[in-house]
Subunit: 422 residues, 2 copies
């Protein structure tokens, strides 16, 4: 029964029915969490052999003869640079491996832009206004980071093949616009994979500001779970072809290949940017944790082996995403009160309620013991102008939990929608 074709009385009856279901579900006093993109323990177990890859009997030298136990190698060990270069289809000389998370690298680069300026440009803190483009729905931590730095966040619409490039091409004509957040593959939260056309339009941007940078967070580059591998164009070589070699910072990490926080992270970018980055990084650190880089390299070996490893992860994740789809389909497809994405990788499903129903839905879920990311979190400033978008993150929960949580979610969507209609 499509809600839009129901009479007032029929809507009332449906509201009564769903409210009763809701009360019954609430009585079960559940405590479920679909709020964050955390791997489950079952997934983490798949990587436990990484803990045995370096031990006291191991060779602890890099291929260029550096003792990984001692100081040095600001840019990371050659083996780790090679591995990320292979993953990202770029040259090892473009890669710097540092730290345990790519997020902290993004923060370091924005701090550099604020304090020093990019490549000798005027520091952002000395410029009157800095604007940053935020394709939304998008990743809340990205938006919050740029908000923390005091930038003005400008929402760009997410389409099915990437951000709306007409909007971006127009917006970058403003010299105050200094960057754009991108998750090019299995975008958080839509799961969208950027089309070749989108990547090429990014590479060909003509920003007014020379210190404009694309923050290309390739967090889910190996994270498909449908057996098929979607490929995206290499942004670094596309930028070079378009004579925009220095315009992109690409990020990657093994956080969601092995352990979140216990992995290794990298930035890939032009040689000139690498020089600029090392120019401030050398004041911050003598070098990264090379032992942990060695551990990751010995565990993952090469891209082909990572693909095999990610298939094992997919075998855990795919049924969970299928379960979400099944319940959404069963509960909502006939009602006409929700739209959602059907991603082939990544960690999220993006759900749109009817306008003005997202906050109410999340709040109903919370009362019923199911936690979601706050409605609005996927938009700049945490404000979804249409109050529609909710991010579903089923990776951490069990299959049973997911089915129950999504059922409660669907009932909540229905109640919120019916409240609006009545």
């Amino acid at each position: 029964m499509n809600y839009s074709s129901l009479t007032k009385q029929q809507l009332k009856d449906e509201y009564e029915r769903q409210s009763k279901r809701y009360e019954n579900l609430k009585a079960q006093q559940l405590c479920l969490d679909l709020s964050r993109g955390k791997p489950s323990a079952e997934q983490l177990d798949l990587s436990n052999a990484i803990l045995d890859c370096v031990n006291s009997s191991s060779v602890l030298y890099t291929e260029n003869g550096t003792d990984c136990r001692n100081y040095g190698l600001l840019e990371g060990i050659p083996e780790a640079r090679n591995l990320f270069a292979e993953i990202l289809d770029t040259d090892p000389s473009n890669v710097l491996v540092a730290g345990n998370s790519s997020l902290i690298l993004m923060f370091a680069l924005l701090s550099h832009a604020m304090i020093d300026g990019i490549m000798g440009g005027v520091p952002f803190c000395k410029q009157e206004k800095i604007k940053f483009l935020c394709p939304a729905p998008g990743y809340d931590r990205h938006f919050d980071m740029t908000r923390h730095f005091g930038f003005e966040l400008i929402t760009v619409d997410m389409e099915s093949d990437g951000p709306n490039m007409d909007q971006i091409e127009e917006l970058v004509k403003d010299p105050a616009v200094k960057g754009v957040w991108c998750v090019p593959k299995y975008q958080n939260p839509t799961g969208v994979v950027y089309s070749d056309k989108t990547v090429r339009r990014f590479a060909a941007l003509k920003p007014a500001s020379p210190d404009f940078r694309i923050f290309w967070d390739n967090a889910y580059c190996m994270h498909n779970y449908d057996g098929d591998t979607h490929t995206i164009l290499d942004i670094i070589s596309e930028c070079k072809k378009a004579q925009n070699e220095d315009m992109v910072y690409e990020f990657c990490s093994t956080s969601k290949m092995s352990y979140p926080g216990g992995g290794i992270a990298a930035i890939a970018t032009s040689p000139a940017n690498i020089i600029d980055i090392k120019g401030f990084l050398k004041y911050a650190t003598i070098g990264p944790d090379k032992i942990n880089q060695l551990r990751a390299v010995r565990f993952f070996k090469n891209k082909q082996n990572i693909k095999k490893h990610m298939k094992l992860q997919a075998a855990v994740l795919a049924p969970k995403f299928a379960a979400v789809q099944k319940v959404l389909e069963k509960e909502l497809s006939c009602c006409g009160i929700g739209e959602w994405t059907k991603p082939c990788g990544g960690y999220f499903i993006s759900f749109n309620t009817p306008e003005g129903c997202a906050k109410r839905t999340v709040s109903l879920c919370a009362e019923c013991g199911v936690k979601f990311t706050p409605a609005g979190a996927t938009f700049p400033y945490g404000i979804d102008p249409a109050d529609r978008n909710i991010r579903l993150a089923p990776s951490f929960a069990t299959l049973d939990e997911i089915e129950k949580a999504v059922e409660i979610f669907c009932v909540s969507v229905k109640i919120a929608a019916l409240e609006k209609l009545l």
Copy 2:
């Protein structure tokens, strides 16, 4: 023969003698390096069991039930906070454990001060001038970091019981003075241990600026090698007693207890500072590498055990420092042309040539195949006004290498001094 009592002809004869020695040593075409405070492979080997402390059969949960393989615990795992609290004689709630080096924490705090301001104060980048106090000779990376941020560096004299506190008490009356670099125990490069009086005078400072901070880099707190353990007062509780609770950031790491770059690092400070730090850190990262924290905690266990471990390190280091002292004593004590420190811990010996001879000495050594930290590096801007100070770092070289290197050093000091006298 004291050079000051020699006749011109005697000086000429001595110059001839030392020049011949120098040419003979040069003919050996040596390649020796006493430039950096790097542990030797023999020392690193002492920690190799740390690589076996966490493996695929280990319990990977913290005592509070957090899976170390997954996201979370911005402030570090409780076990690691406890360990650093014990090392630093402070409360675990004052401790935040993050990253693989304390240097990067100092850089993060200065970036925070630049961009956000400390505890809601005016960001340093919006203030006209920032000045930083640099007790010298001191650690070149400290000075270079604050220089990188564009601060004006002000030299403070190092005395035998810490920095000259009369100077510091006067200088902090200037509201542009925002901080001071300290290595309170076995200072780099003098090996000086701050006296209780010095620590208390630091704690009782009355800086004009509320965002003045003491950067208390307790890098060598466990690093004695004379069998005796020097204790310094806990700066955090001293500051609290003096109602200056928020005035100090204390730093520590296991870099020179296990592996440089492969260890874990901590900051200890007041509860209000911890809140301020987490307030920006949460935008930079979801959490530290908790697995590596677990590894360190299981290896080091507690302070008593670290003491035992550091005794093993001392057994490697002490003979090296003794060898330096022996050669310096033999070659120079009678000539009256050099003064040097006799530290009981840390990684360095500080040497003063006669005025105007340090650069020439280092250059003579380089020509003879022995590398030292550039003369002047131990002073702000790399400029030693008296051109006297040279840092000797014998940890990485072998005993034979050290004896040869210090012999060449002594001959070079003599030649440089004689060139001045003639």
